[in-house]
Point group: C2
Chain length 444, copies 2
């Protein structure tokens, strides 16, 4: 089914066979439709969305990629958009409305039900990267003295088809007291009260917690849903596992792009000039390092005429030092991100990296000393290249292991460190060590 | 509470205050205890586990890191281990038993209940990286004509405290027909039959599917649990969202370590010599590239005496080409991993990278031409360096964007490409371009 629609969607629209298309779409999962719409142009997407039942169309819009979704929302007639937003969970609605110009956002919110609009407005106030930015206000809560029968009747009336994981139990001041899961509710006697069934949640999230910390706790405690509270313990909303999976993906992407000296913005930017600008800072850092290394090399060329024989090995020294340093940096950055390197326990990691790199440095150093010695039939050259490369590699490792920790201490994202900073610092330091030690040994 | 136990655990054990410790542990979450035990030595860990109720201790063992857990399982008295394994879900039990020597594994399986042992044995047969390796056999299934009352009574009897997300509905031949969620069950009338309630799952997983593909589908369809079937549609088990979160983490780690030329094994290896061996292949590739570049530089030094002035810019050319190439490679590798670069739609990506890098190359080229020209007061040098660096950068981008696609076509993990292969190929190619073009321009 999917392939038929995917391949022929444009034909269906051009041939005016909208009814046929609408029928096919109706039986498809919103996530599958979203996947087909993501790469389409705005006009076609809006046409297709108009063919679907409001509820289904609303789900499709939520499932679309952030960039496509925001574009479609901006282009769509405001009336239609309001219809779709009214069907959404508060968190999805807030994400979309927050991207609209202020006057349009106000119009949309004014047109949807008072209670819903209030929830959306409240969510729009929280920082996107915190628990408040992830949570939704839709959830089922109950008082401690509510009976099972009464609660079940309430759930029947809500009838919104939404997944229920836990019923959150609050006192009269809306302070979280516990939770009851669906299995307990199913097996309980009709007149049992919530306070007899409830247990305390293994995870309670505070509204201002960073989303990455929240994701780590979800993973640690294996929960599918957690209540969100404020400083006074009032129940504000809930976060579910699917929000967490999105966070994990987002953070993962961010780290990858940072390591390559770009950002996740790049994926959503279409113009090469814009992308080039995003990648440039990293390269300008490299460029600065390049001018420094060229000045160093020029100096040595001018000052010492007998060191020309060292020069061919410069790229090798810099390449190897760079590779070893970036391995240490990557391992350290990952260790910090995954919590494997605990706060205050950083020295064992640095020492471990030094031990590892000493082994690596001597293994490579011997091969290089023999290789360069034989290649140029000069034992002294081999010695000079070998010793200086061993030193350069060990120093590069230390830099690679220490710079991310330094970044962390300075509250800069350590992932930035495994990029140009370590590379350029490494280049300059290893070149000075290599040329300096090499020249000294050759002049002995 | 946690900090008290964490800080004083050794003291408690040394002072013989086991009862006090046991009491404190009893009120803690298994994941929190596991976090404290992970870095402890085997002897203390086994002592602490012995202080806990069997069910609690079993949960703690499951929550521990893979390496600590396998070590503890190997060291623990076999009788105790059997007790703990008997309490576990089939998938966790299979993971632990699979790591034991054959005779011990058989003893453990012989001692636990016949039905449980069968499930564990069956799971141990599946490839660890497939749906079969993730699923558990514990789940609740029902026939199409079972009534709500009857099913609820059965659930009451099972009483294992396990989370239930869906009841899977099968026909008489155990072929999956649909599912019923807990909310439906709670709101249904006592004599309704499953076939009147059931819907078809939005995600059904086949037992031999790769775990990464399964994780992507969980994310796409936002399900918290999915049934696993064989080729004939028979229901074999279920996968839950917490298994998926573990997969996402594992795959993410793998990609990071591959990009640094190491492997996730590194985290679990304690010896520096072993880790050095894991990192070495990547470096040997670099080393090979280094010998080639040194040969090229030696050749140019000997053949053309007037090119010494070009040499100081060699590190800059190689560094910038390498950085630009690795940006293209990273973006391409991520695009492939996230499904953003669809099969058969690779050219738009390559063309996009070329357009981006052309902008970058000319921007950097002009800065470098001016910089090197002024630095050495030689316009011709500036021209030579500028033109050849522009060419080298554009070629490096093409290599960076194409090599991962080539790897993908050859069924090699594209993540490997953004490492040493792209770097070393880049080094050699950009050096030849730079020295070749530079020499030609200077000799004109």
């Amino acid at each position: 089914m999917k392939t038929v629609v995917e391949r022929n969607l444009k034909n269906f629209l051009e041939d005016g066979r909208e009814n046929e298309l609408a029928e096919m779409l109706a039986s498809m999962h919103p996530a599958d439709i979203a996947e087909i719409l993501n790469p389409l142009d705005m006009e076609d997407t809006i046409k297709v969305i108009a063919l679907m039942e409001v509820e289904h169309a609303s789900d499709v819009l939520v499932e679309m990629s952030e960039s496509s979704r925001d574009q479609v929302a901006a282009e769509m007639p405001l009336e239609k958009l309001t219809e779709l937003v009214a069907e959404m969970d508060s968190d999805d609605a807030a994400d979309i409305v927050a991207e609209l110009p202020d006057d349009e956002a106000n119009k949309v919110l004014a047109a949807i039900e008072q209670k819903d609009a209030e929830g959306v407005r409240r969510l729009m106030m929280y920082d996107e990267e915190t628990a408040g930015g992830l949570m939704q206000v839709e959830m089922i809560s109950a008082k401690e003295d509510e009976t099972v029968t009464h609660l079940v009747e309430r759930i029947r009336e809500i009838d919104d088809g939404r997944d229920v994981y836990f019923i959150f139990i609050v006192d009269n001041a809306n302070v979280l007291r516990g939770q009851v899961n669906m299995r307990q509710l199913l097996l309980a006697w009709p007149d049992q009260m919530m306070k007899d069934l409830m247990t305390f949640p293994s995870l309670v999230v505070r509204v201002d917690e960073d989303q990455e910390a929240v994701a780590q706790k979800f993973q640690k405690y294996d929960v599918q849903s957690a209540p969100v509270i404020d400083d006074q313990g009032h129940l504000l909303g809930r976060i579910t596992f699917d929000d967490i999976m999105d966070v994990v993906h987002e953070e993962m992407d961010q780290d990858f792009y940072r390591m390559a000296g770009s950002s996740e913005e790049e994926v959503y930017s279409s113009g090469p000039a814009k992308i080039a600008t995003l990648r440039m800072p990293w390269l300008l850092f490299n460029l600065g390092g390049g001018f420094i290394t060229s000045a160093i090399l020029s100096y040595f060329e001018v000052a010492f005429t007998n060191i020309l024989i060292l020069v061919p090995f410069v790229p090798m020294v810099m390449g190897l030092s760079g590779a070893v340093g970036s391995q240490s940096a990557t391992i350290t950055v990952r260790g910090l991100a995954m919590g494997r390197i605990a706060e205050g326990k950083v020295w064992p990691n640095v020492l471990r990296e030094i031990r590892i790199s000493t082994i690596i440095a001597f293994s490579l150093g011997i091969i290089i000393a023999l290789g360069s010695g034989f290649l140029h039939s000069a034992a002294r050259l081999g010695l000079a290249v070998g010793i200086s490369i061993v030193t350069a590699i060990i120093v590069s490792t230390i830099l690679g292991a220490v710079i991310p920790l330094l970044f962390k201490a300075l509250k800069i994202d350590p992932a930035l460190a495994s990029g140009p900073v370590v590379t350029s610092t490494n280049d300059v330091v290893s070149l000075i060590i290599y040329m300096g030690m090499g020249t000294a040994i050759l002049s002995m």
